[in-house]
């Protein structure tokens, strides 16, 4: 696992505590978090309770800030009925300085095989747990840097590059490669509000909702509704009509 320390501006941890009533929520919100509301919205729409084996992460780029959400990571703790507790970590950085590092980290998480992904998950849950156990200082950022994965393998350049500005793709190895390529080689995204999301079976309705909120947005989903590329710039009605026509002929 090749990582590099990067300066943080803020961090948040979504998890639950052990006892009844200590439900899933953002337990820690520390430092200066300007994109937290957007991150929470994406978490609630696209990562929370979404099943399916795929990297669950998001990148939000807005003006001078860039945020990285890594969701659905099992930690060592269990709750009052013996269930594994899961964590979602949100990290926020200064975009002009660290945009490249964050986009590369997201790309690496997409490219790495399942076993390596688990190692990265452990790396980030350790970080989240450190924040969680220092919850008496919940608004004070106890860790000033975080180690992010750096690019140690290149995506497949023979694949068709991503062109649309708002797109939902089925989360195959091939499409994960295309997205990684896009993230690695679009370090100067010409947009004020970009988001990238990789998740499980997120239906198209929700993909459209997310696309509506960004200027540019790429989504990887395992939903059967998105088995072919869906241009989210077109209206949902036009997508449904095209689907209907496809099945009629």
């Amino acid at each position: 696992m090749v990582v590099k320390p990067v300066d943080l501006l803020g961090a948040a941890v979504h998890t639950r505590d052990q006892q009844p009533g200590q439900d899933y929520n953002w337990y820690i919100k520390a430092g200066d978090l300007q994109l937290f509301d957007q991150a929470d919205e994406i978490y609630r729409l696209a990562l929370r309770d979404v099943e399916g084996e795929a990297p669950k992460l998001a990148v939000i780029l807005k003006e001078q800030r860039i945020g990285l959400l890594i969701g659905d990571m099992p930690c060592q703790r269990i709750d009052h009925v013996n269930r594994e507790i899961y964590e979602t970590l949100y990290l926020e950085f200064d975009a002009p300085q660290f945009q490249k590092n964050v986009l590369h980290a997201a790309a690496m998480l997409l490219l790495c095989p399942k076993n390596n992904y688990k190692r990265y998950e452990k790396h980030f849950t350790d970080y989240a747990e450190t924040l969680f156990y220092n919850s008496s200082h919940a608004t004070h950022l106890v860790l000033k840097t975080v180690k992010l994965p750096i690019v140690s393998q290149q995506p497949d350049f023979s694949l068709i590059p991503i062109e649309h500005q708002k797109l939902a793709l089925f989360s195959t190895l091939e499409n994960r490669n295309r997205c990684a390529r896009y993230l690695i080689h679009s370090t100067h995204l010409n947009t004020h509000h970009f988001s990238f999301i990789s998740t499980g079976r997120l239906n198209l309705d929700k993909c459209y909702q997310i696309a509506h909120q960004s200027e540019e947005c790429i989504l990887l989903t395992l939903s059967q509704e998105a088995q072919t590329e869906v241009n989210l710039q077109r209206s949902k009605l036009s997508f449904m009509l095209r689907q209907k026509m496809k099945f009629s002929f």
Partner: protein, 311 residues
């Protein structure tokens, strides 16, 4: 349809086992139940995880199976009759903590809207806490007063008819003889007295009490003190198989109720066309057959005419 109950009572487990049962109902009913592909994958995966219980060691506390729900999950289902879609159904599974949420909670508005729209409300109850725990433990695990508060306005303000299913889970140890079953029923009636009285006062609500076995091979053994908190300990029994039981019953009650309401609320034009093509008779016959497979052994509270399907 919406499931309510505090966290850890077994809502998601119940939903996954009910869905598995639903696939079996497709073979024995004139109605066809089809989930969206994503819902199908999610619930089948959850069911598979539940079946791994038989690989867990016996006589030791059971390990984790499903993860807790963090928000509100909608599961889409269609009911078809003779290949034609009759009804869209949404099963809402919620994070248990939502029953305690106030207006400031980000999911509160969505949760309340779904509760108001629900035709069938399934209150999932931890049976072991009902029987074995002291008063406080039972109230903490099942929160009957919170459920009463939550349903009060839904049932009174909303003039819609409701079916309220009290599904008792984690009660494998008390379904072995009539005496234990009776004890389960008495404890339920004691702890849910306020809600039962409310149901019996209203014309638009019917409640059904149904204990079920979601896993079949896991039984309550003891209560342990863990950091001053009481913990219910369940173990896998070596002589028992993974065998959910009675799980079709909440489904049959819920689906028959939804189909009945759907049939009663058809527009006049639709009714005329159906009468003309003799579709009404076939539908009514299929509904009667489906409803007759409901067990009559469950205790019913309130206006029982709401669940009667007339031939």
């Amino acid at each position: 349809m919406i499931m309510v109950g505090p966290d850890g009572v077994g809502k998601t487990t119940l939903l996954a086992t009910m869905y598995h049962e639903l696939l079996r109902l497709n073979n024995s009913s004139s109605f066809e139940f089809a989930a969206s592909e994503d819902t199908h994958h999610d619930l089948q995966e959850a069911y598979k995880k539940l079946t791994t219980i038989i690989r867990q060691p016996t006589f030791t506390p059971t390990g984790p199976l499903l993860k807790g729900t963090a928000g509100i999950i909608e599961r889409q289902l269609n009911i078809l009759f003779k290949g034609k879609k009759e009804l869209d159904l949404v099963f809402c599974d919620i994070a248990g903590g939502l029953i305690r949420a106030d207006k400031n909670h980000p999911d509160w508005a969505d949760f309340n809207q779904k509760l108001e729209q629900a035709l069938v409300i399934i209150n999932v109850i931890d049976g072991s806490a009902l029987i074995e725990g002291d008063e406080l433990l039972s109230l903490t695990k099942n929160e009957p007063l919170q459920i009463y508060e939550l349903l009060l306005s839904t049932l009174i303000d909303n003039q819609k008819d409701h079916l309220l299913l009290f599904v008792i889970t984690k009660c494998e140890a008390w379904l072995k003889n009539e005496q234990d079953r009776k004890q389960l029923e008495m404890r339920f009636e004691k702890h849910y007295e306020m809600l039962i009285k409310l149901i019996e006062k209203l014309d638009n609500v019917v409640g059904v009490l149904m204990p079920v076995k979601t896993l079949g091979c896991v039984e309550f053994t003891r209560i342990e003190n863990n950091n001053h908190e009481k913990e219910m300990i369940f173990v896998r029994k070596p002589n028992l198989r993974f065998k959910p039981q009675n799980i079709d019953q909440p489904l049959r009650y819920a689906l028959a109720y939804a189909l009945l309401a759907h049939n009663q609320n058809r527009g006049n034009w639709n009714k005329f066309i159906r009468w003309l093509w003799n579709e009404e008779v076939a539908f009514q016959q299929a509904l009667t057959e489906f409803a007759e497979a409901r067990s009559r052994t469950f205790k019913i509270y309130g206006n029982s005419s709401l669940i009667e399907v007339i031939k």
